[in-house]
């Protein structure tokens, strides 16, 4: 009957829809990474081994992997680019689901986390086979060391430097070949450049970006002999209120702000437009990453580069950058090691310096011929001798997140003029809790 057949049709449709939904849910469980490349482990077919390689953002790795493939017939590298903000989350999900890559290029700051949670494998014996092991950047090696082993391989040195606009220096009556070497000099130079008017600012402060300020302000502190964090471990604390150089640095920034040498929009700069004014030729001094330099040069800016100075001289840098790791579960470790060794070769590290304007991770490359061919990278490489990088599990949560204690204290002291003693004490208390929580959470009791 008409009624029954309608009911039957409805029943069939309903059940079919339910079945299709269930099937779709069952199938699609895997990760949806930026491109399709995340198959688990490596595979071998007729003599060619394929290894899966995850890289972050757009960096030398993509180009280098292509060069590797062109010159190695028996190993093929399958590259996947993963956006930085999701990198750790995606890696965690992939490794948990046994679909992680073989080799990964990740932010060196994450190395202790990956080591402690078993994401990367112990590569100590591999490192001992490298003739240049002792010249690998010591800060990055420190990040990779964990419980007697090494869980990452230094790969790119992304050290922070001081960049300045030589043209604006000249206009302001300053010697373009004499960048400031003390904080007092930075202040006077910035004031003279701001006096040029016409929307020109002397200095840059990425006020609401924790990642930017740790990268550029902490070297000022280190170069002056200060400390920001205590040793890695369950009882790690920040030393913002106990190290006088931290207070000095924030007061210095406060003075730069109140003297009008910084654009007012910098206060809410969260990193997305950081450095753009400098690249457009509107700023005198920018502490940051030399990766910005090609854009500035294209816009006609004559860029000078110098190390980030301490209060009364000296210099330091924040050794950011990337490390390579062999991911837990990789099936063809020999191929992974071949690839990593190749990536650390002199020619490849020179590629990192040009066209990428990053810094090689091998201090043995700092020769006079290197300095004359790659003057900009040489600045970062030299500064790395005095460079540091904080080793901590809870680093992101305590310093880079928008509400991190460091970011709050920075905003309060530099822009709101709060008393540094109280602000930094509060920051230390809150950071201590976060660091303890994070350590407990990831490494366990």
């Amino acid at each position: 009957m008409k009624r029954t057949s309608v009911r039957r049709a409805m029943a069939v449709t309903a059940i079919a829809a339910a079945a299709a939904t269930a099937a779709a849910c069952g199938n699609g469980g895997g990760s949806t990474s930026a491109s399709s490349g995340s198959t688990s482990g490596s595979s071998s077919s007729g003599g060619t081994t394929t290894i899966n390689f995850w890289v972050r953002v757009d960096n030398p790795s993509v180009g280098l992997a292509k060069q590797f493939n062109a010159t190695h017939k028996n190993i093929h590298v399958n590259t996947t680019v993963v956006p930085d903000a999701e990198y750790v989350t995606k890696m965690a999900a992939a490794v948990r689901g046994h679909s992680g890559p073989d080799v990964a290029d990740f932010d060196d700051i994450n190395t202790p986390l990956f080591a402690a949670t078993g994401i990367t494998e112990n590569v100590s014996s591999y490192l001992n086979t490298l003739s240049f092991k002792s010249s690998l950047n010591q800060a990055e090696m420190g990040l990779a060391s964990y419980k007697g082993g090494y869980y990452g391989v230094p790969y790119i040195n992304g050290s922070s430097v001081m960049m300045y606009n030589k043209g604006l220096f000249k206009k302001a009556g300053l010697n373009p070949n004499q960048p400031p070497t003390t904080w007092a000099q930075i202040l006077t130079d910035a004031k003279k450049i701001s006096a040029l008017g016409n929307g020109v600012a002397g200095f840059t402060i990425p006020g609401a970006c924790g990642g930017c300020t740790v990268y550029t302000v902490w070297p000022l502190i280190w170069a002056s002999g200060g400390q920001v964090m205590s040793a890695f471990g369950a009882n790690q604390t920040t030393t913002f209120s106990t190290s006088p150089q931290v207070t000095a640095a924030l007061k210095f920034y406060r003075e730069l702000w109140t003297s009008g040498t910084v654009a007012s929009k910098d206060r809410s700069e969260n990193g997305t437009t950081w450095g753009q004014a400098f690249m457009a030729g509107k700023t005198g001094i920018l502490l940051g990453t030399p990766v910005d330099i090609p854009t500035a040069t294209k816009n006609g800016v004559d860029v000078g580069v110098a190390p980030i100075p301490g209060e009364n001289g000296g210099y330091s840098t924040f050794v950011g950058g990337d490390e390579l790791g062999i991911i837990n579960g990789s099936k063809n470790v020999a191929a992974d090691e071949t690839f990593i060794t190749w990536m650390l070769g002199v020619k490849q590290q020179e590629y990192v310096a040009n066209p990428w304007y990053l810094v090689p991770v091998r201090q043995d490359m700092l020769t006079s011929s290197f300095a004359s061919k790659y003057p900009i990278a040489a600045v970062g490489l030299k500064a790395s001798e005095q460079g540091q990088v904080p080793k901590s599990i809870g680093f992101t949560a305590a310093t880079e997140d928008a509400n991190a204690p460091w970011v709050t204290a920075f905003e309060q002291v530099v822009f709101s003029g709060a008393d540094p003693a109280t602000a930094l004490k509060t920051a230390d208390t809150n950071a201590k809790q976060i660091l303890a929580q994070q350590y407990q959470q990831q490494v366990g009791g």
């Binding site: 939904t21 509400n403 990831q442």
Partner: protein
């Protein structure tokens, strides 16, 4: 007026005076089956005894099966999983360990969560009356069939169909000092010095968020109220006009009581939506400065994906869910009581 236990249907207006059907059309109505004496059979006292009612029930069940499956897979199952996670120390990377109710006891001491709940409540209390009053007024404007009213309906409703994250980003850019258009316009009008930092001051940031959400979602309230108002019979207004009632009396004595159920719906939707506010605060201020514009969901996000403490985030989620259920039940009960009392 006749009241009934029929649950509020979106936009349902008042039932005209007269015999009110107690539920779906009883068996024996115009159905065209061969049941003997169909039109005259009294409604059976026990549903399910009647084969027709049973087959209707089965058909109803089958039709809702796909939706039930989706709800089960995408809501019930994850809910059970989250409840389980909340009893564990479950780092994003690494092994999970069972810790019982420890997450809940840490939660009780979590000052940031307390502050986030307070801020979320504050935000809800601000947004809800605005949505109801403004939605009502807009509906009054667009409910009549005048020429060109379709244009206004579209204009007010269009923000609803734009992507939320995209509009939040547009607002962000418009408000950035030195880059955005808002400061430039205010400066040229002489209303400010053009340097206002909208998003680094919690008070201003809240104002911005309220403006954004109102602009974005007022269309929904407007449409719901409009549909409810259109179901109010014209005769009531004409009778009132004859009696000499002015606009205000007509609105407050006729419209407002008769669209009570829609008002309840808008209230529940707005409160629930505001309680779960995330997108605008994530994009505009990231909860800052110093957690002053942090909402409950944004804090859950931070603990899960910035601090990698997904077990603790699960506990926070469960607590928020319970709060929201209690809140919704309280709202519906209060409004239903008012309904039956009239």
């Amino acid at each position: 007026m006749a009241s009934s236990g029929v649950p509020a249907v979106a936009g349902a207006g008042p039932v005209p005076a007269g015999p009110v059907p107690a539920g779906p059309v009883p068996a024996g109505g115009p159905s065209g089956t061969g049941t003997a004496g169909a039109g005259r059979q009294p409604a059976p006292r026990r549903p399910g005894r009647n084969p027709l009612a049973r087959s209707r029930a089965r058909a109803g069940f089958l039709m809702s099966l796909p939706a039930l499956v989706l709800v089960a897979v995408f809501f019930v199952l994850p809910l059970i999983l989250v409840a389980w996670m909340s009893l564990n120390n479950w780092p994003l990377i690494g092994r999970a360990t069972f810790i019982g109710v420890q997450n809940y006891s840490s939660l009780a001491h979590d000052k940031i969560f307390g502050h986030a709940l307070w801020f979320t409540a504050e935000y809800t209390v601000i947004v809800t009356p605005i949505q109801i009053v403004l939605g009502y007024l807009l509906a009054v404007m667009v409910r009549r069939k005048l020429r060109g009213v379709g244009f206004f309906r579209t204009v007010y409703f269009m923000p609803v169909v734009t992507g939320f994250a995209a509009t939040a980003y547009v607002f962000l850019v418009m408000l950035t000092p030195g880059v955005g258009v808002v400061n430039t316009v205010l400066e040229s009008l002489g209303l400010s010095n053009g340097q206002t930092n909208w998003l680094t001051s919690p008070g201003l940031a809240l104002v911005v968020a309220v403006i954004l959400i109102t602009w974005k979602t007022i269309g929904i309230a407007m449409i719901l109220f409009m549909a409810a108002m259109q179901a109010v019979p014209e005769e009531l207004y004409e009778a009132a006009k004859v009696d000499g009632a002015g606009w205000w009396r007509r609105e407050s004595r006729i419209t407002v009581p008769l669209i009570r159920r829609t008002t309840a719906l808008v209230l529940v939707l707005t409160v629930a939506g505001s309680f779960l506010a995330f997108d605008q605060f994530f994009i505009l201020t990231q909860g800052g400065p110093n957690n002053e514009t942090l909402t409950a969901v944004l804090w859950i996000y931070t603990t899960a994906f910035v601090q990698y403490r997904t077990g603790y985030a699960g506990a926070l989620s469960i607590v928020l869910l319970v709060l929201l259920i209690l809140l919704s039940v309280a709202q519906i009960r209060t409004l239903r009581r008012g309904d039956e009392g009239s």
